[in-house]
Symmetry: C2
Subunit: 146 residues, 2 copies
DNA sequence: CTGCCTGCAAACGATTTGCACCAGC
DNA sequence: GCTGGTGCAAATCGTTTGCAGGCAG
């Protein structure tokens, strides 16, 4: 699993390759995102960024997160709600999604990683990767339900 | 796979059990949704409903779709964008998601349906069901790319 | 210097809410 | 008739865009 340091190195490389400036905002936003495993929305990232660097605008956070996705430093995580969620982990992994509170937890499983997908070429679809989306109820919600 | 007729029967039963009125709007919206396999947004459902029954308000479509989810006549489908998508299929099935146009296609596979999930109890998570989310590029986008 | 980036404010798209009226049972 | 449903307009939430000035290379 990539560390925050690894991620920063990836950012430097990506910016250099694409001739893009390496701004302090991009550094800070990536530090915040790389640190989290809860698949935050752009607004949640913005809130966390405020603590380290007050004054960064929401707009910048939205734009920078979008740039991270294009540069493959992050991906948009599957969710069932109305705000886009970002995930700094670009390797294959899976998700436990709480249907009550919408929390998204990572699920590690080499067995699931190795699943062979059925052929989708007859549908004309080129499959690049996959992830498993497990629906259920998280520990906190189960406790709260009692 | 449930037919439109099956779905209507489910709606009647669900309304009776919960003591809820069976309105023409609910019938119409369910007819429209049950007919589609493209995981439409609420707005897309509203557009289609307009053709059969002009005058139904967006608000009603949003509220009714929400009710369908509570009554388990539909589910919210995993997606990576910013509008909620609805799926009339409540049985286990999987999705092919185009990263270029956001289209969502159903993927049938008894083999995938039978996958044994790893134990998530040690995380305190109660797993109820799962689906596989395949990322890639659909036939139309591949054609368009050339 | 020059181009891309940032912040601000306004626009936009998706969804929810308050309220008065209407329709199933 | 009573209860919950519907439509409308306004409010709210999440996100994007246009523009003027600022900073990295």
């Amino acid at each position: 699993m990539a560390t925050v340091t690894d991620k920063m190195a990836q950012l430097e490389t990506a910016c250099r390759e694409h001739g893009l400036p390496l701004t302090v905002q991009r550094r800070t936003i990536l530090e915040v995102l790389a640190d989290r495993t809860d698949h935050p929305t752009a607004d949640q990232v913005w809130e966390a960024v405020q603590e380290r660097m007050p004054g960064v605008s929401r707009t910048t956070v939205y734009r920078v997160l979008d740039a991270f996705v294009r540069l493959r430093l992050a991906v948009k995580a599957p969710h069932t709600g109305q705000s886009v969620r970002f995930d700094p982990r670009t390797e294959r992994h899976h998700h436990l999604v709480c249907v009550e509170c919408d929390r998204v937890l990572d699920l590690e499983s080499p067995v699931l990683d190795g699943i062979r997908l059925p052929d989708t070429k007859r549908l004309g679809f080129r499959a690049d990767d996959f992830s498993i989306h497990v629906r259920g109820v998280c520990a906190d919600c189960r406790r709260r339900n009692r």
